[in-house]
């Protein structure tokens, strides 16, 4: 096993593990941000995207991050998803300081521990639905037969078994987003990050997508949804509201009963 894969496995193993009896202290939170800041430099101009954000997200949370455009919520999600690195502060993922990991290790973390759902779907246009879904498995070195089986299983789970050989261009927006969700979960990650997942969808498709995300949370995954739609945010157990690169309001982890939402069907 390569060092990258090993590191990635460690990162995935901790958050998914149940209570560790041998460990005297409590398991570290899945995600812990301490005074995280992000400043973009464009020439002489400095744009502060995040001030000093501190946030803890525990295992199996369903968290919504809301706020107006430019409030830094996407930047926050990119940092949580290891797509971007903070310019100040500390980000610990499963107890590991992310800044100390190199890009190859982070790629492994994204591959095995994190699934992404984007507003723009971000499917590769020249690959069929199941080929898009198997992509993360290709990068984790799973043999082809198993890849296909797992991709088709993920596709079935989002209710698109009959669309396996369709390219993204031949699918509706809602179907594309379901394919994207299948891709996000095909590696069975502990954390799923959704950036405005319903931003480009009609209300019916949005409901499908939100139901799928809620189901994933019911399976024990941590879900972080970025949205500026209040009613979607209201489905979450916990809401973090951002403004001008800072957290304006947040309820504490576990503020709502854990099983509350997953039992509730989303509004159709």
């Amino acid at each position: 096993m390569s060092p990258e894969a090993e590191a990635a496995t460690t990162l995935t193993a901790v958050p998914t593990a149940a209570a560790e009896p041998d460990e005297p202290r409590a398991a570290p939170p899945v995600i812990e941000l301490v005074d995280v800041g992000k400043v973009y430099k464009t020439g002489e101009l400095e744009v502060v995207a995040l001030q000093a954000v501190s946030l803890r997200i525990d295992e199996n949370e369903l968290l919504a991050i809301t706020g107006p455009s430019g409030s830094g919520k996407s930047t926050l999600m990119h940092i949580i998803g290891c797509l971007d690195v903070p310019t100040s502060g500390v980000y610990r993922l499963a107890g590991h300081d992310v800044q100390s990991l190199d890009e190859a290790v982070l790629a492994g973390v994204r591959n095995l521990a994190i699934g992404f759902v984007f507003q723009q779907f971000n499917l590769l246009p020249y690959l069929s639905a199941w080929r898009n879904i198997e992509l993360p498995l290709v990068y984790s070195g799973i043999p082809p037969d198993e890849r296909r089986a797992r991709a088709l299983a993920a596709l079935e789970r989002v209710g698109l078994s009959d669309r396996a050989d369709h390219r993204p261009g031949e699918l509706s927006g809602g179907q594309q987003q379901r394919v994207a969700i299948a891709r996000a979960v095909v590696t069975e990650p502990a954390l799923v990050l959704a950036d405005e997942p319903t931003g480009n969808l009609d209300s019916n498709s949005s409901a499908d997508v939100l139901r799928l995300l809620a189901e994933l949370n019911g399976e024990g995954r941590t879900i972080v949804i970025i949205t500026h739609e209040r009613d979607i945010a209201a489905l979450a157990r916990r809401i973090v509201t951002m403004r001008d690169g800072e957290i304006e309001a947040a309820n504490e982890p576990g503020a709502r009963p854990a099983r509350d939402l997953t039992m509730t069907e989303p509004t159709p």
Binding site: E4, H78, G81, L83, D84, E103, A104, A107, G108, R110, N111, L112, F116, F118, N122, L123, L124, Y126, L127, L135, P136, V138, Y139, S140, G141, R183, T187
Partner: protein
């Protein structure tokens, strides 16, 4: 990511962007075709000359009169009375004075119009001794070659080349026994030389051979009846060729009473030296053309780099997606490198095909010959892939270095 997946991904990308890939490959294709054909044409021209020189016979030295070096004072050069004589040839044939020489044949040639009945044909008339057959490795297909008796008696006999027979006697296969005349002297045809089938040099199959004595006394004459225009010397084996050269040189210097080898009134050429002289021009041309071809290949390579850079820019978002789902920088780099080498390989393979096609077509339209060289083909294919990789490195590492989020954000 396994190599199989990498190669599949690369070929998919090449197939997806068909026009762009085709244009890229065109650059490589032209380069490879140019390399294969220029090297092939060069080798063909060289082989042609080589064949002509091999038709002289094997392990042969050619002694020519006159001198290739010049010193002060006036001297008889080539064109006045020849400095070589039949006695020189006889001395060279002697196993005592030149043990490494198998045999030597003096020869004089002139252009001559022969007549058979009412048919006229101008051919090369060669007067020589029976040793000629052995030295030049030419036998007869029918009849016999000139004999020592013919030579001793200056017999009016002639051995004709196969093409000469066709010209003089048409389809008649029984040329032996017929008579041809030259300058009013009747010559009996005693044999027909076998054909040099591979020969592209017409004079090898169109000639008339008569005894040297008859040539000098009856047919052509000349200022000095002993002088000959060249002597063909055959060494006993290829290993003894250089010894034969030394012996012939020493012997002729001695018999011609030349003390300083620089003043020698003859020159000895080996097949190798004739070949070198004949092919040096070809070589220069080949090197020049190959240079142009290599530049073409280089331009093709820069085309690959250009396309790969465009490809990276155009597919930044794809790179972002791949990174987001877990592609490590090394994997992205490898993908673009393999993509570039797939373009190089495919363009190279098509270039080879075009080169092969050219090798078939070109000889149909010109008398050039294309000798395809396996080394040039394999080498140029390797260069094509190397060009793909070398010019793909920069775009590939640029793609690999992109930060995932910057790549995802691009439009």
């Amino acid at each position: 990511m396994t190599w199989r997946d990498t190669i599949r991904t690369a070929t998919e990308a090449v197939r997806t962007h068909r026009l762009r890939s085709a244009l890229t490959m065109l650059g490589i294709l032209i380069g490879i075709t140019a390399v294969v054909l220029t090297v092939g044409l060069g080798a063909g021209a060289k082989a042609k000359v080589q064949d002509q020189i091999n038709e002289l016979g094997t392990n042969v030295l050619v002694v020519s009169p006159g001198s290739s070096t010049s010193t002060s004072g006036t001297r008889g050069g080539f064109g006045s009375a020849s400095t070589l004589t039949r006695q020189d040839a006889a001395a060279l044939s002697s196993p005592v004075t030149a043990p490494d020489v198998q045999t030597a044949a003096p020869a004089s040639t002139t252009s001559a119009a022969l007549r058979a009945g009412s048919t006229n044909w101008t051919t090369t008339l060669t007067g020589t001794t029976p040793a000629w057959s052995e030295v030049r490795s030419r036998g007869v297909s029918t009849g016999r070659f000139i004999t020592a008796d013919d030579e001793a008696n200056a017999a009016p006999v002639v051995v004709l080349g196969p093409d000469t027979v066709t010209q003089l006697f048409g389809g008649n296969p029984n040329a032996v026994g017929q008579t041809v005349s030259y300058n009013g002297v009747s010559l009996q045809v005693v044999g027909v030389l076998d054909s040099l089938s591979s020969s592209e040099n017409a004079s090898n199959n169109d000639l008339a051979v008569v005894p040297l004595s008859a040539y000098q006394q009856r047919l052509v004459g000349g200022a000095n009846r002993n002088s000959v225009s060249s002597i063909y010397v055959k060494a006993r084996s290829s290993g003894r060729l250089s010894a034969a050269y030394q012996e012939a040189n020493a012997l002729l210097l001695n018999t011609h009473r030349v003390t300083n080898p620089r003043n020698a009134d003859f020159s000895i050429a080996t097949q190798q030296s004739i070949l070198q002289a004949a092919t040096s021009v070809d070589n220069t041309l080949t090197v020049m053309l190959a240079g142009i071809a290599v530049i073409a290949l280089l331009v093709g390579g820069i085309g690959v780099m250009n396309i790969m850079l465009v490809s990276v820019a155009e597919r930044t978002r794809e790179i972002g997606v791949r990174k987001a789902v877990g592609a490590r920088p090394g994997v992205i780099r490898r993908q673009f490198l393999v993509e570039a080498s797939v373009l190089g390989l495919a363009g190279g393979a098509l270039g080879l095909l075009a080169g092969l096609l050219g090798a078939v077509v070109i000889p149909l339209f010109s008398d050039s010959r294309v000798d395809l060289s396996l080394i040039a083909m394999v080498g140029s294919l390797a260069v094509a892939i190397a060009v793909g990789i070398a010019f793909g490195v920069y775009p590939a590492s640029r793609a690999a270095r992109l930060a995932p989020i910057d790549a995802l954000r691009s439009e």
